[in-house]
Symmetry: C2
Subunit: 432 residues, 2 copies
């Protein structure tokens, strides 16, 4: 089916292109036209013409790192020292998560992400078949990986590795290609070098990228030095992690030299400003990364440490906190922050050929934004308004693969009431 | 008229009181009941019973520092070095502001503030009769002051002082007491000591508090030292500014000693995290202030440097940035951040006897919040959800002085389309 959306303010996120009044045409799952509103004659070649006056159209947001099922624990424990939060609150409950909790929590998160304009997310967790099924049913796009913590017996470790490999084989390209996969040893501080090497070997075999947590806290960096005599970047580099396409989450505590190595190996970085602030981890050196040519993506991390999955907040935080921290209002201008939430996100997930910008031939993953809110007025600079003024409430419609998933803020594929009910039931089943 | 709102989750913001399922009763402009849902018999004594199931009720947010008319310049210039932004972009346009621009910009801002749940704001600007009229018509509460920059001839300065005094006399207690006033020399770096002293003298005479910008940037602190041999706090202290009830905006660059002086004189502080970050001014030492007993309020500053007037974002920033900056997740817990946006805001505006908490005898300034959003679920900890997950889109109803101003997100007192039209026209009249 051919559809065209007309009279929108179109933001392609291609290079320095400015927003313009125009139209976006799609056929089935792909974009076939971006430009001025066509003539009546040309419009007649479409099956459906949709007027989106007073709205912006832009690429859907991309959430480059998270743990969707953790929304079950949103607000369950806050404002505690990191180890106490993890060891006494989060881990004991997560340890009780079964397929039911993962399915219910992931559905709640996917609903929240779609309603706030996120069309693609990375998820690193357990019981990933559940996550795959929710993604398939909801219509969202996702990069999925079974995150493996390398504690416990050799047998347990090998079963996790096998599970990760099997998941990748089963789901790569599933749901009309909306699902792709990665392999993800959890982190250098929870996985032995040998365990990480096994993941690298399998990723090369399967030809999928690698993902891991890296240098989120000062403490784990010190632990790496104490244990291996190396900082995490050099540790992973020597293991060959960066020889494959790879994405690291956080990279808060990295030196100039480490940034240079990440840039040299074209390692992708997922910046999680909200989570890093809330957990007291610190402020990642994003301006320095940008200077060295790294194009960081944005991510929410899990809802237990954010506490929402709203990428607008991450975009705004990325645009604000580095200016304040460096006392320099010119670092990370609005357009760069918006790229971090869209086109750089696509690159970080190795999906830049398919999504991240509005261009002919790419997947029709886009959102429409209400431009009539008082906080979006006067319409001096739409990119600035999106970054510094907009919020999730301004997202009206969400399309993935050319299909409407959210229309006028309401979900078309997910039953909101059922999701709330099942999330509550799943939490109560494991509540302390 | 007696009204009672039942089945709400009530958040009083009184001390350590926990949210509870209950009711809020009001008679005309004041709260007459806060507690469990009363018996049928007691409900019958009310003229109207309103069911607010699935909603929270809490005090309206208080925006303790801003320049409402500047919303006309929202997004007009961003991401520039501070002096270039001010001198080449903002000041030349502000210089052209007449009563029309101030009226139109203020109306746009009041609409935005009401829709995002702000029931009281401080405004420091010019053409304040226009601001007073907008406030009177819209039904919001405000603390207003004619901000006086002490540049130019002695005659010009004296005319500004006279205007500030006259405005205070004309508007103190206006609009059924919704409008109260302050006197506001702009800042130590734009006002001579003599000019500031004249404001102090008049404030004592009129018995109104004082307000000023203080120590927003490292540069202005250095300038104060170069010019007067003193840092701004000691400079203002010696002038007697702190001998009267006083509120300073920003206080980003203050030392431990200066914080001690502010605490000693019970000086109120308006923390503007969004504006301070965006302009690259820095990060105010709020945890240190709290330790010394200062209870900072929150504020957006003008929309040209924020770029919205959304106090939810300021609450979230206050809860997040200090944790990240100090690498300590325990500083400024959620409840403290929410106090900064409500009860501490009331104290900062010297209105704590009337607003800031839901208590019998106080003004009925309150808002209702939708609790059914995916991002607010599961309902583990409402205070946490409000601070870390909520956004302006969750605000459903807004009441000031017991009158509904916003119902189900729509304004009852302001014509949204007219406001957008007039804001655009007012900007175009001065556009470069």
């Amino acid at each position: 089916m051919k559809q065209i959306f007309i009279n929108a303010t179109v933001i392609t996120m291609v290079g320095e292109e400015e927003p313009f009044q125009g139209a976006l045409g799609i056929e089935d799952s792909r974009i076939i036209y971006v430009g001025p509103v066509p003539t009546r004659e040309e419009l007649d070649t479409y099956d459906q013409v949709i007027d989106v006056s007073d709205r912006a159209m832009m690429p859907g947001l991309i959430n480059a790192h998270g743990h969707a099922a953790m929304s079950l624990l949103r607000g369950f424990a806050d404002d505690l020292p990191l180890q106490e939060w993890l060891e006494e609150k989060i881990w004991p409950l997560e340890g009780k998560f079964t397929a039911e909790q993962v399915r219910a929590g992931t559905a709640l998160s996917v609903l929240e992400m779609l309603q706030s304009g996120t069309t693609c997310f990375l998820d690193m967790y357990d019981h990933m078949d559940q996550v795959g099924q929710v993604v398939a049913d909801a219509g969202i796009r996702a990069k999925l990986c079974r995150g493996a913590i390398g504690f416990g017996s050799e047998e347990l470790q090998q079963s996790k590795l096998a599970e990760a490999v099997q998941f990748s084989k089963d789901w790569e390209g599933a749901a009309d290609g909306r699902i792709t996969t990665m392999l993800a040893p959890h982190s250098p501080y929870t996985c032995s070098p040998r365990f990480i090497s096994q993941f690298i070997e399998k990723a090369a075999e399967l030809q999928v990228p690698l993902h891991t947590h890296m240098s989120e806290t000062a403490r784990e960096v010190q632990q790496n030095i104490d244990e291996y005599g190396l900082r995490p970047v050099e540790h992973l580099r020597r293991l060959g992690f960066f020889d494959l396409p790879s994405l690291v989450a956080h990279a808060v505590h990295v030196t100039e030299e480490e940034i240079a190595v990440l840039a040299q190996y074209d390692v992708k970085v997922a910046h999680n400003p909200g989570s890093n602030l809330k957990l007291g981890s610190g402020i990642a050196p994003i301006p320095q990364m940008l200077k060295k040519g790294i194009r960081p993506a944005l991510a929410t991390d899990g809802a237990a440490s954010n506490n929402n999955l709203d990428l607008w907040e991450e975009i705004q935080l990325a645009a604000l906190i580095h200016k304040g921290f460096h006392q320099d209002p010119t670092v990370i201008p609005a357009r760069e922050a918006l790229r971090m939430g869209t086109s750089y996100g696509a690159e970080a997930l190795f999906l830049e050929k398919e999504i991240g910008t509005l261009e002919i031939g790419k997947k029709a993953d886009f959102i429409t934004i209400d431009l009539k809110g008082a906080h979006m007025w006067p319409p001096h600079d739409l990119i600035s308004h999106l970054v510094y003024s907009a919020s999730r409430g301004d997202v009206l419609d969400v399309y993935v693969d050319g299909k409407a998933l959210i229309r006028n803020r309401a979900s078309l594929t997910l039953d909101e009431e059922k999701i709330r009910f099942e999330a509550m039931r799943a939490f109560q089943a494991i509540a302390p």
